[in-house]
C-alpha cells in the first residue's frame, strides 16, 4: 500500500486510507470471484525457514507476488493469501520454535499457519525476487518464543528435508500442574538427559523375549519346552454340629495337589496333562486321584481337534448348571459340584464368523464320586460305587456323543446342544452292601438318555440376563427344567470395588419326584470384587426352596497373599427344615472350610 501523505488532515487521511483499503478489497474480491477466468494465478511453491540471532525467518516462495493478510492466531500468526494456490502435498517448514504449515481453507484462500512466534506483528515483511529467475520470495521475520536454546539452526533448510530426529526420551518438568495450566507452554521442557536411542530405520538389538521376561510362558513363542505348574493345598474343615449318627469326625483335614504339564510340539500341536490328587484324614473315599486333562489339541486355522481326556464347560448361570453335561462331577471334592472328572473324547470344533460348531465322541462313561462311610457331608446311606450300573450292566464302555452350536452376537450369547448317551446324574436304587448284607446302601444307576439344551446370556451394560433350559428323554420320565436369572454389577463403589447382585429361579417339572433336591428354588446372591492387588473376592448366596424344604447358604471369600499363596474361607450351611426332603439328611453337616494354596 502506498504511504499516505502526512500533511493531509485526519479526515482526508481516513478517506484516503479507506479508499485504498476498499480498492484492495475490491480488487481482491474481483480476483476471488473471477479467479477461474484467469489463465495463471499466483501459487506458493515452497516454504523455507531459518533461525537467526534474535529472529526467525520464514520465506514463502511464490510464482507471482501477492499481498497476504497477516493476523494473529493461536501461538503465532495466520498468513492468508487470497486467490493463491498451493502445492498438493503438505508443506512444512520449521526452524527453532517456528513451525509453518500451508493449509488450503477455501478453494483459493490459502493460509500459512506460523507457530512458535510472538506478536503483535512480524518484525519485518518484504518481498524479494526469486533466486533462480521467475517468481518472488515473500520474507517474514518473526520474534521467536523465548527458549533457552535451539537445535535446528541451519537457515533456509525446511523440515521436509531434515532427517527424522532421534527419539530421545522426553524429560518433562517436575510440576505437572503448572505445565498444563501454562497456556503458552513456556518453561515446560528441559533438554533430555537420557542416552540417545538408535535412529529410526535401525532396529534395536534383538533381545530375546525370554531374557526380558523369563517368567512369561507365552504359548505362541515357546515350542519344544515343557511347562510345569500347579498348586499344593491344605484344607481344614470344622463341622458346626455333630453328625446325625454321631460317629463321624467333627473336624477333618486334607491335603491336595493339582499339577499341569504342557508341551507344545510345534505351532498348533499341543499336549497337556492335568492330574489331581487328595489325601483326606477322615474319609478314605475322599482320598483319590483324578485325571482332569490328558490330551492332544491340534489347531488348524479355524478347526480345533482334541483327543484324550478333557474338561468342557457349557452354560451361563451361577447357581445350577443344567446344560453342562459333558463331564462327570467329582462329587467327593465339594458339594458345589464344580470339580470335574476328565472325560475321554475325540472332539472337534469349527470356528466360523456366525459361531462355533462342536462335536464330541465319548466312548467311556464315568461315575460320580461320593463320600464314604466316614465322609461328611453325607446322608445316612452311603453310595456303593462298586455296584454301579451303566445302562443295565457294569460295563463303563458305552458310547455317548454330543453336538453343540455356540454363537456370540452384539448383545446375545447363545448355545444349543444335544447329548445322546449315558447320563451323568445317577438314579439311586436302594440295595444291600455286597460286603455286609445287613447294611443298606444306595446303588447308582446311569441310564441312557437324550438331552437337548439351550443356554443364553443377554449382556446389557452392567446387567446380564441369563437362562438355561433342558429337555430330557429317558426310560422313566421325560422332563424339562429351566433356570433364569440376572446379574447386575455396580462398578467402582467405595473407590474401586465392584458389587454384583445375582438372582436365579430354577424350575424342574418333575416336582416332588425329582431325584435332585431342588425342584423349585430361588437363588439370591451378591459378589464383591475389591479390585485390589491381592484380587480379593467375596461371594455370598442362598438357595431357598420355595416349597419350604429349607435353604442352603453359601459364603466364600478368598484373597492372595504375597505372590504365590491364596487363602480361601468358605461356609456351607443347610438350614433346618421340618419336612422330609433330600435336604434333611445333610442338615447337620454344615461346615466351614479353610483352604491354603501354594502355587508353583
Amino acid at each position: 500500500m502506498s504511504r499516505i501523505p502526512q500533511h493531509l488532515g485526519a479526515k482526508e487521511r481516513l478517506a484516503r486510507y479507506s479508499q485504498q483499503s476498499l480498492s484492495v478489497a475490491l480488487s481482491a474480491l474481483m480476483v476471488f470471484t473471477s479467479s477461474a477466468a484467469f489463465a495463471a494465478i499466483p501459487s506458493i511453491q515452497r516454504l523455507r525457514a531459518g533461525s537467526h540471532d534474535d529472529y526467525v525467518r520464514l520465506v514463502i516462495e511464490m510464482t507471482q507476488a501477492s499481498t497476504p493478510d497477516i493476523v494473529r492466531h493461536i501461538d503465532g500468526f495466520a498468513v492468508f493469501f487470497d486467490g493463491v494456490s498451493s502445492p498438493e502435498t503438505v508443506q512444512l517448514a520449521a526452524a527453532g520454535p517456528l513451525v509453518a504449515r500451508i493449509e488450503r481453507s477455501v478453494s483459493t484462500l490459502t493460509a500459512v499457519y506460523v507457530e512458535g512466534v510472538m506478536g503483535p506483528s512480524p518484525v519485518r515483511n518484504f518481498t524479494l525476487p526469486a533466486r533462480n529467475g521467475s517468481g518472488v520470495r515473500l520474507v517474514l521475520d518473526f520474534t521467536p518464543r523465548p527458549y533457552d536454546d535451539f537445535i535446528d539452526a541451519a537457515s533456509g533448510v525446511s523440515a521436509a528435508s531434515t532427517p527424522v530426529p532421534r527419539v530421545r526420551n522426553i524429560e518433562w518438568t517436575v510440576s505437572n500442574s503448572t505445565a498444563v495450566a501454562d497456556a503458552s507452554g513456556a518453561g515446560e521442557d528441559v533438554m533430555s538427559q537420557a542416552p540417545p536411542l538408535p535412529t529410526p530405520g535401525q532396529r534395536r538389538p534383538q533381545v530375546p523375549t525370554e531374557a526380558i521376561l523369563p517368567e512369561a510362558q507365552s504359548r505362541d513363542r515357546k515350542q519344544n519346552t515343557l511347562a510345569f505348574y500347579g498348586y499344593v493345598e491344605a484344607e481344614v474343615r470344622p463341622y458346626l454340629q455333630r453328625s446325625q449318627d454321631g460317629d463321624r469326625p467333627r473336624v477333618t483335614g486334607s491335603i491336595a495337589s493339582e499339577v499341569t504339564a504342557e508341551w507344545s510340539a510345534a505351532k498348533g500341536h499341543d499336549f497337556k496333562v492335568t492330574g489331581f490328587g487328595r489325601v483326606d484324614a477322615a474319609d478314605s473315599r475322599r482320598t483319590h486321584a483324578e485325571i482332569r486333562e490328558a490330551k492332544y489339541t491340534g489347531t488348524f486355522e479355524a478347526v480345533q481337534v482334541t483327543l484324550g481326556f478333557d474338561t468342557v464347560f457349557w452354560g451361563t448361570t451361577e447357581s445350577f448348571h443344567l446344560v453342562d453335561i459333558i463331564n462327570q462331577i467329582d462329587g467327593v471334592e465339594d458339594i458345589d459340584d464344580e470339580d470335574k472328572r476328565g472325560e475321554l473324547m475325540v472332539a472337534g470344533s469349527y470356528i466360523t464368523p456366525v459361531g462355533t460348531f462342536s462335536a464330541y465322541a465319548m466312548p467311556l462313561a464315568r461315575q460320580r464320586t461320593f463320600p464314604g462311610v466316614d465322609g461328611r457331608p453325607n446322608g445316612p446311606l452311603v453310595v456303593d460305587t462298586d455296584q454301579v450300573r451303566y445302562d443295565g450292566d457294569d460295563d463303563p464302555w458305552n458310547f455317548s456323543w454330543a453336538a453343540r452350536y455356540s454363537g456370540s452376537f452384539e448383545y446375545l450369547d447363545i448355545g444349543l446342544s444335544y447329548f445322546d448317551g449315558i447320563a451323568r446324574d445317577p438314579r439311586f436304587v436302594a440295595g444291600l452292601d455286597d460286603d455286609d448284607a445287613a447294611r443298606a446302601v444306595l446303588i447308582p444307576n446311569y441310564d441312557r438318555i437324550q438331552q437337548a439344551g439351550i443356554d443364553t446370556q443377554v449382556t446389557l451394560g452392567p446387567l446380564l440376563l441369563k437362562g438355561e433350559g433342558i429337555h430330557q428323554w429317558n426310560d422313566f420320565e421325560d422332563f424339562s427344567s429351566f433356570i433364569a436369572g440376572f446379574e447386575y454389577t455396580a462398578f467402582g463403589l467405595a473407590g474401586k470395588a465392584d458389587i454384583g447382585f445375582l438372582a436365579e429361579f430354577l424350575y424342574d417339572d418333575r416336582g416332588e419326584n425329582a431325584p435332585v433336591p431342588f425342584e423349585e428354588d430361588v437363588f439370591i446372591g451378591a459378589r464383591a470384587v475389591l479390585n485390589d492387588t491381592a484380587n480379593t473376592q467375596v461371594l455370598a448366596g442362598a438357595i431357598i426352596d420355595l416349597d419350604g424344604d429349607g435353604a442352603f447358604i453359601n459364603v466364600e471369600a478368598s484373597t492372595r497373599i504375597g505372590d504365590k499363596w491364596r487363602v480361601s474361607l468358605d461356609a456351607r450351611i443347610l438350614t433346618q427344615s421340618n419336612q422330609p426332603s433330600a435336604f434333611r439328611a445333610f442338615q447337620d453337616d454344615d461346615f466351614v472350610q479353610l483352604r491354603i494354596q501354594r502355587y508353583f
Binding site: 512458535g116 486355522e301 451394560g461
Partner: protein, 267 residues
C-alpha cells in the same frame, strides 16, 4: 461524510471477510485440526495386521513396594470398516490367575464385547464391558486406558504446539465420547514428525488432574510402526505408579480371526 459512509460500509464488510471469518474459523479450525492430527496418528498405525508382545506390569505403591504381573497381549487389526480391533490378553503371573484370558472385540463408539476365561472352571463367561473406569489387574491403568485411542472415541481439539525434548509436539485436548468414561478430558502430546503420543494427562470428572501417562523408548518396527516399549502411569493422588514394559513386538504373525475366538481362549 456522505462519501465516507458507503466506502466504510463496503470496506468493513470486506474487512470482516478477512478478519472475522478467520476468527470464527479459528475455533472450528481447532476442532478440525485436532481431528486431523488424531486421524493422522491413527493412520500411521494402520497396516500392522496383527501383533503379539509379552508384557511385564510393575505396580508400585507410594512406599516403593512392588508387585509384578506378566501377561501376553495379542492384537488383531480388523479389515472390516465397521469393526474395531480384537485383542486377547493371556495372564501368566501371579500364578493363581495363570491361564486366565480376556478377549475383547472393540466396537467403534459402542460398548465392546468382552469374555473372561476362568481356567479353574474351564469356563468362558461373557462379561459386562461397561466398566471402563475400573482398574485393570489392580493397577493404575483402567480398562479405558488400556484400549488404543481410536479416533471415534474422542472429540479432539488442537490447543497449541509446544517443544518436547528435541521435537515439537502437538498438544491436543480430547474429550471422551462415552458417558461412562471416568475422565472429563485428557491432554495428549503427539510429536509433529511421527505423531507418536509421548504423554497424556488425565482429568477426572471434577476436572482435577489425577494421572499422567508417559510413553518412552519408542522403537521402529518393520520400518513403519512405532511402539513405545515403556509406559508409566503415575497417579498423582495416591502416589502409586504402574509400569508397563513391553517385550519385543512381533507383527504380521499370520493370526486369523479364529485365534481371537472364545475357543482360542482356552489354550
Amino acid at each position: 461524510m456522505r462519501h465516507l459512509l458507503p466506502r466504510l460500509g463496503a470496506a468493513t464488510a470486506v474487512f470482516c471477510l478477512f478478519v472475522g471469518g478467520p476468527l470464527v474459523a479459528q475455533s472450528l479450525d481447532a476442532k478440525q485440526r485436532g481431528d486431523d492430527i488424531a486421524r493422522e496418528a491413527d493412520s500411521r498405525d494402520e497396516g500392522f495386521i496383527d501383533s503379539i508382545s509379552d508384557v511385564e506390569m510393575v505396580l508400585r505403591d507410594a512406599a516403593g513396594n512392588e508387585a509384578r504381573r506378566y501377561l501376553t497381549i495379542k492384537t488383531f487389526e480388523s479389515t472390516e470398516s465397521d469393526e474395531g480391533n480384537k485383542s486377547l490378553l493371556l495372564f501368566h503371573k501371579p500364578l493363581d490367575v495363570k491361564g486366565t484370558a480376556l478377549l475383547t472385540y472393540s466396537s467403534l463408539g459402542d460398548t465392546d464385547q468382552q469374555w473372561l476365561y476362568l481356567p479353574a472352571l474351564k469356563r468362558v463367561k461373557r462379561i459386562s464391558s461397561s466398566n471402563k473406569s475400573g482398574p485393570f489387574m489392580g493397577s493404575e491403568f483402567s480398562y479405558e486406558d488400556m484400549m488404543p485411542p481410536e479416533v471415534e472415541r474422542y472429540e479432539h481439539r488442537y490447543l497449541e504446539t509446544v517443544r518436547c525434548g528435541e521435537m515439537q509436539c502437538f498438544k491436543l485436548e480430547r474429550v471422551p465420547v462415552a458417558r461412562a468414561s471416568g475422565y472429563a478430558r485428557q491432554i495428549a502430546y503427539l510429536d509433529t514428525v511421527e505423531y507418536r503420543i509421548h504423554r497424556v494427562d488425565y482429568f477426572n470428572r471434577r476436572d482435577v488432574l489425577i494421572k499422567t501417562l508417559y510413553l518412552k523408548n519408542y522403537t521402529l518396527y518393520d520400518d513403519t510402526f512405532w511402539r513405545a516399549e515403556n509406559m508409566t502411569m503415575v497417579n498423582h493422588q495416591s502416589g502409586k505408579t504402574t509400569d508397563l514394559i513391553w517385550g519385543t513386538f512381533a507383527f504380521k504373525n499370520g493370526f486369523s480371526s479364529a485365534d481371537f475366538s472364545r475357543t482360542a481362549m482356552k489354550n
